[in-house]
Subunit: 153 residues, 2 copies
DNA sequence: AAATAAAGGTTGCATATGCAACTATGTTAA
DNA sequence: TTAACATAGTTGCATATGCAACCTTTATTT
């Protein structure tokens, strides 16, 4: 074990653990997609998931908030996904500043195709972790998210 | 609560929780740095932390592994940090392909200055979480990291 | 009603980062 | 010993993303 891993006050905090695990998980998921010839980034997949569960579509700006990215970044993500026929931009009648983003049939089918693959891959990664541990983990992360929401303007 | 947050099998997995919490935490830390006029990115800070704890310096490629990034990305990160006099590249005598990366006096001072600030900020974010919960969280994340190491080539 | 402010979305700019190709140096095998 | 292979680091290219400036539309103020 590398000296930097031990004996550090920081390693008793969430910061290094969260960041590193998250980064490793992202690379793993990307790898799963690549190996199965699925032309999706993790970010695109997150958007598909959200839109799949909200069939009325979501205002572009709300989608930015939900996915925790700024509107510029979302604009470009949607540009790519619209070009690939995964989602559509629909002008919002009640307020012409807004766009509604909806999943397309192709997007929905791709999501449903990737779903079991991804759930299965996540199962592998969560091997050896009990249901209770998962519940605990999620409840702690939820607490941290709440704290972060309070302390970010 | 947004419909996509509930009723999804995925939300019983680590993936969405880890990714989102980690992203929020990154933004929070960046914000702390900005508000305190500290000219550091979170990535630079991680490198400073590792080098601070290893006064002999670390081979550039090893640093890439430890920080979970590829060598191209690390090359550029070190370029920036060397330009800012936070670290130095020293040719490794025993193998002239290698560089040893060492923290400079300025880098070390900056790290020591940010340390209490960051520990304090993390304390705020971990408010309401007991020591035992922290231990559990870290041990679960360590398990997940081990699983990920096994399943990534 | 007109003027000002706010909100949603897009674009330019800067930076970060992964992959693949490349160079230089070391190691291994024939 | 030389040829083939492996390793460390850099660079070009592609993509992702944040910030700030900007345009258009809506809301608020006077």
């Amino acid at each position: 074990m590398h000296p930097s891993i031990i004996n550090s006050e920081f390693n008793k905090t969430i910061a290094p653990w969260l960041g590193k695990t998250s980064k490793m998980l992202n690379m793993y998921i990307l790898d799963v997609f690549n190996k199965n010839n699925i032309q999706l980034t993790k970010q695109q997949w997150v958007v598909l998931k959200i839109l799949h569960e909200d069939t009325n579509g979501i205002i572009q700006n709300d989608l930015a908030c939900i996915t925790e990215r700024n509107k510029a970044s979302l604009t470009r993500l949607i540009n790519v996904m619209e070009k690939n026929n995964l989602v559509t931009r629909i002008p919002f009648k009640a307020d012409s500043r807004k766009n509604v983003i909806q999943i397309t049939k192709k997007g929905d089918e791709l999501f449903l195709k990737t779903k079991p693959l991804l759930l299965n891959s996540l199962d592998i990664i969560q091997c050896g972790i009990t249901e209770n541990e998962m519940k605990d983990l999620i409840s702690i992360l939820a607490k941290i998210q709440n704290n972060l929401k309070k302390h970010t303007i």
